[in-house]
Symmetry: C2
Subunit: 471 residues, 2 copies
């Protein structure tokens, strides 16, 4: 990303409020949007789904063959404690489009944000990118209206592309799913629909400190932003020791504790060492998974289940529909442990195998796990650093919110997102699949697809250069 | 890659001869190596293979389940003229290791090259990297000896890693196969086996101008080398207008005719636009493919066939074995069309879908096709730029040799490798899946795996900074 683009994004991130939708007006507007629309969601038996059903091998599909399907997956790996299992997996071969339309007002970049209903959302409405569309969506397989603002991304009149990268989604739930993350800056005047408003990156960073307001799709697109300015010093709006160390971290693109070549070699070693064998199999044949009229669940009741729901909404392309969803049965935890080395903040990155990964391992947060399953379990079953993170004291915690997973597929799933600054207790002797990287290095790898996973990107997108009490 | 490493590689590339094995001695040595060993290869019926056989679904496998298998693949894509077909494919999930051990002599980096027999090689012996091993190889599934020099790559005593990247192999023949390409520099003294010798990169570049001498595995590892020096001027050993333009091309890492962000956006667009649906299927069920006692071939006799062979060799880990191989029925052509823009050489890169690609498209040479199938066909069936390349005049041609595909899997397969400098006849209005890139930009993308395909890498590895009459 060019320095001028980095500067543009940084100025937007440091603009903690905006004139177009000041945050003291935002709450009313957001509340209004929730009340303006009528939504209804009910869990239904699989048999009541419309145009969705089980095919002969027990996979759950749409009659058109489009959208997505839920199938079975047999997994074998030499990574982690559990070496073999079977599970349902969401198969969605089409690449989706997640796009922010952006525009400068008084020189500050603003993002056109949508108050969007998704059936699985906690509180139904969250802040989304300007556009969320699958190709089926905008080819209008569902016969509905074309998504608003789609033409801005397809035609690109008088606009330039600031970001345009493929990124992965949850490897534990999706089989090799990717989205195209795109940010377009336009100089044209834009008509702002009633569910849309212009926010600065700084405003979004403040809203990210609230639970379940900024949706996953918005977080992943924002994570593709770089704040690298080249050699310039930190702007005065960067405050506090953490803000300064973070700002430096974004400027270090090539060599922190490790060079990028060393990181690539480390990552190559992980891919070389770890196996991931996945075989798609009929959903009906999964060992240990049971199907009732209402759900497909694991015999132990753990992990997640597949369910069906009926949705009514007055502001979507289609007024009512049914669809399958995935419902988590356990709380999740995503943590980056961070630490300054020579004044530059570093992130403790984990090479993690997940069954749906495009390429065996991705760079994940220091800790990414289900915590429910560990609560009553012996502590030695916890993955590395999880106990350390859960025992972090208030003065170590730089970020702590609940964030939702994608409401189009996941039913009210939230994960605790934590940034923990290391203290002297942290063991610096790392397991071989962990490495320290700067924010700038992570951004470099984000530029090339399928390196950094969605949980790590989401956490990165939440970091702010200002002291928390300003936010 | 750091500037000092770039300088090290460049000095080695400009060392057109070496003291340890001067090229006027090399020919005798190479001939000796061929005569020192006894090899025998015969085509045999599938039924005569030892430990290999057809499983119930007709797939060809080793009894151990290791090494590789030959299975069926159903392919659907919206790229190119043919939208649906079925074909045999080589499945080899294990990542192989291709490694050069290197060492400085009088300050010049030399590579430890092996005169290696592979059953499919034209002339049986070609120059290979120090180490070619699959994990099955060095876990010694075949019960043979451990490959020489393996410990240098596993232990890495007193050595540093210069290159360590995963790279793809032929997407038309392998299903998502990758190798770990690694170059290690050591300061220890190295015992040189009788089939090994030390050559500079410059010597290898001269040998690359001969047909079928430097094998594919050596070419792919060498392609990971960068010659970027930062801001310094061209060394005096860089000669001729083409050499100068090429040297500049290697120095331009971020912005040629397009920035890297623009290239990433272009590549994202190709992945978004093109579909590649592949389904593994039983080899026995492939439409249009027939199995006889001796081969599996396409009903038209075109493309390639699968055959079995028996090999005897006195210098391999195992003295005799049988294995299936793939035999091409048509000649191939790989061409980069190059052109100077503002004194910097650019390469015309194609985004190409191949069924075994890890991620839908890879960056391929301008032309990469089978020519046999076109010889009697109407010219309008030729892919873009193929006719232009085949009609290039002598003064446009910067490189023209026959190079072998990997002799461990492919039976005497060679492709014509061409570098053609564009003249005024070239239409600069490109189809949407073509883009101009500098050599430095291609090297940047090579650093991140699965961007640049093996044919493009192999051509890049062949380019030299000196006038051809010096070579």
């Amino acid at each position: 990303m060019s320095k001028s683009t980095g500067h543009l994004f940084l100025q937007s991130a440091l603009a903690l409020d905006g004139d177009l939708m000041p945050l003291d007006r935002f709450d009313d507007w957001f509340q209004e949007r929730k009340q303006a629309h009528r939504f209804q969601l009910e869990e239904i038996p699989f048999a009541k789904m419309d145009k969705w059903g089980f095919d002969p091998s027990g996979n759950l599909r749409h009659d058109s063959g489009r959208f997505y399907s839920i199938e079975g997956l047999r997994v074998g790996t030499n990574w982690g404690r559990i070496r073999e299992w079977e599970q349902p997996i969401i198969v969605q071969p089409e690449i989706g489009l997640l796009g922010f339309l952006s525009k400068r007002f008084d020189g500050i970049l603003h993002f056109l944000v949508q108050a969007k209903m998704e059936p699985g959302n906690l509180h139904m409405i969250q802040l989304a990118p300007t556009l969320q569309a699958t190709r089926s969506n905008f080819m209008r397989v569902h016969q509905g209206r074309s998504p608003p603002y789609l033409d801005w991304f397809l035609q690109r009149r008088n606009s330039r592309v600031l970001v345009d990268i493929l990124q992965s989604e949850q490897g534990a739930r999706f089989l090799r799913k990717r989205n195209r993350n795109i940010i377009i800056e336009t100089e044209e005047s834009v008509e702002v629909g009633e569910d849309y408003c212009w926010l600065t990156a700084g405003q979004l960073l403040r809203l990210l400190r609230r639970d379940n307001v900024v949706n996953m799709d918005a977080r992943t697109v924002l994570s593709c932003i770089s704040y690298a300015l080249g050699e310039a010093g930190a702007p005065s709006a960067v405050t506090g020791q953490f803000g300064q160390a973070l700002w430096h971290s974004f400027q270090v693109l090539e060599q922190g504790q490790h060079t990028n070549e060393e990181i690539i070699s480390w990552f190559t070693e992980q891919k070389f060492f770890y196996d991931l064998d996945v075989d798609r199999m009929p959903l009906a044949d999964l060992r240990q998974w049971e199907r009732t009229d209402m759900e497909i669940r694991h015999a132990t009741g753990r992990f997640f289940s597949v369910m069906a729901c009926r949705v009514e909404a007055d502001n979507r392309e289609v007024a009512a529909w049914t669809q399958p969803m995935v419902k988590a049965h356990q709380q999740g935890l995503c943590v980056f442990i961070v630490k300054e080395f020579k004044g530059v903040l570093h992130f403790l990155v984990q090479a993690k195998v997940e069954p749906g990964n495009f390429d065996v391992v991705e760079m994940a947060p220091t800790v990414q796990c289900l915590t429910g399953s560990y609560q009553n379990a012996a502590l030695n079953l916890l993955p590395p650093f999880a106990q350390y993170a859960m025992e972090a004291t208030t003065d170590q915690i730089r970020f702590d919110t609940l964030q939702s997973e994608e409401g189009g597929r996941f039913f009210q799933e939230e994960n605790r997102n934590l940034i923990v600054e290391a203290d002297a207790r942290l063991d610096l002797d790392l397991p071989p699949n962990y490495i320290w990287m700067t924010a700038g290095q992570l951004k470099k790898f984000i530029q090339f697809n399928n390196f950094v996973n969605v949980q790590a990107r989401s956490l990165l997108a939440s970091l702010s250069f200002t002291e928390p009490d300003l936010l």
